[in-house]
Amino acid sequence: MSTPTTEQDTTAPAQATPTGQDAAPAEDTTAVRETLTAFLEQRTKTAVAADVDLFSTGLVTSLFAMELLVHVEQSFGVQVGGSDLTLDNFRSVDAMTALVLRLRGGGDE
């Protein structure tokens, strides 16, 4: 389980988070994305690209949706509260990665 690193915050510009603030280190983004992809691929037995729409492809069923939510919370030590429970936040690996990085930023939730 990866934890937020602070040592390398001065590295090159990382991918922008949706809020545009506190851009995360690139390696953090990669670690979160890899953890999510591994879980999805293990459970769906399908290769899952980071930008694929999980709902329109039917990869996420009703029980699996909740497992995914619990996985995100457990793996990254975040709580996804009511206002963050939107389809768009869970639509793809990229969207979930952005959500996790934003919640872990511990900003103004």
């Binding site: 069923t61 949706a65 497992e67 939510l69 009511g82 206002s83 429970l85 939107t86 389809l87």
Partner: protein
């Protein structure tokens, strides 16, 4: 192996209070089809009806494993009261899961201070198929408007609040509705087969208008997403309730078989009767083990908890239904009085095979899961 977790003071006190308040009164409550409101309010005021609510909101803050044991304890005494715990627990968990900080502060406090709550999913045309719900939740400026009809809502006859699920936008939403709001009509279900005193009712919402902050978060999510979380709590709770039913059946059947004499020996000395006791024992151990696993998943927030909850509910409900039938068989005429512990268990357990995902819906979910994991 029944109790892997140490018993906390809060749980021990809660179990003692349940024993004192319920005692041997469940038979009468079942026959009357009514629970005394003062008992429910006292249990609720102690935080016992939704005992996993954190202490910060006035709850007992029990783990799922501890609340499970408390649920089984109450379930062994009275499935109607246990049923109230399941509903109030689902209502609280829905608020905890979907609510904003302000909504949690307001509503969880209410639920731990004696106010009673139920959760409304099912409708005349939407039972297992919750996607067919027609109840609508729409926002008009700073008002949320609710229209529709819900059926067989547990606790609704006693409830101060209902957490009502309905269509919202392109998905679903959940709204916290005080039952004294104009436009809310509660009609009791006459003579339910089981959990007779749990206050089942049909509820109509006719242009019910509430402040918009009664709409919980997650509004607009697909209905499956929104309800699975509440149902998962409900399934764990029902499963533990079934463990309680099996305990009540074991107690009644074993005591009777040890004392009742036929053909010159106690019933238990007859091998066919002893077999019933053995199978009841196995049913209880298997169900409790499955429940412990689901609760461990809940307490560790592990993704496996979702499937474990369906598994535990399906296994425990089936065992409770068959176990209760066996207990009636062992007690025979001594168990055939309506209202008595095994007669109640027989009727209550049957309902457990229907609610929070019928046997068949559970099998469909588990079949899909098995295919995904093992194929």
């Amino acid at each position: 192996m029944n109790e892997p977790t140490p018993v906390s003071t809060a749980r021990a006190e809660a179990e003692q209070l349940a024993t004192e308040l319920i005692g041997d009164r469940a038979d009468g409550w079942d026959l009357a089809g009514e629970l005394p409101l003062d008992v429910l309010r006292e249990l609720g005021g102690k935080g016992m009806l939704c005992a996993q609510v954190p202490a910060a909101y006035g709850g007992l803050g029990l783990s799922s494993a501890e609340n499970g044991e408390l649920t089984a304890h109450v379930g062994a005494l009275c499935s109607s009261v246990r049923s109230v715990m399941t509903s109030q627990g689902m209502a609280a968990w829905t608020v905890e899961r979907l609510g904003s900080d302000e909504q949690k502060a307001v509503h969880l406090r209410e639920l731990t201070s004696g106010r009673l709550a139920g959760v409304a999913f099912s409708e005349p045309g939407a039972g297992s198929d919750l996607g067919a719900m027609t109840t609508t939740i729409r926002v008009e400026g700073d008002t949320v408007v609710l229209d529709g009809r819900k059926s067989w809502i547990t606790v609704a006859a006693y409830a101060d609040l209902l957490v009502v699920f309905g269509r919202h936008g392109s998905g679903a939403g959940a709204v916290v509705v005080p039952t004294d709001t104009p436009g809310v009509t509660v009609e009791r279900v006459p003579a339910p087969l089981g959990c007779r005193a749990a206050g089942h009712a049909d509820v109509t919402f006719d242009d019910v208008r509430l402040p918009a902050d009664r709409l919980l978060g997650g509004a607009g999510l697909p209905v499956d997403w929104l309800v699975t979380s509440a149902l998962t709590f409900g399934r764990v709770s029902v499963a533990w309730g079934c463990v309680g039913i099996l305990r009540a059946c074991l107690r009644a059947a074993a005591s009777h078989a040890a004392t009742r004499q036929q053909f010159g020996v106690p019933l238990a000395a007859h091998q066919l009767v002893a077999r019933h006791l053995a199978e009841l024992h196995v049913a209880h151990e298997a169900s409790a083990g499955c429940c412990e696993r689901a609760s461990r998943g809940w307490d560790e927030n592990s993704p496996e908890l979702v499937v474990s909850a369906v598994t535990a509910k399906h296994l425990a409900a089936g065992h409770a239904a068959r176990g209760a039938a066996a207990a009636v068989q062992v007690l025979a005429s001594a168990g055939a009085h309506d209202g008595g512990p095994v007669a109640r268990a027989y009727r209550d357990a049957k309902l457990m095979e229907i609610i929070e995902g019928s046997n068949e819906i559970s099998q469909l979910l588990l079949g899909k899961h098995a295919l995904g994991v093992w194929s």
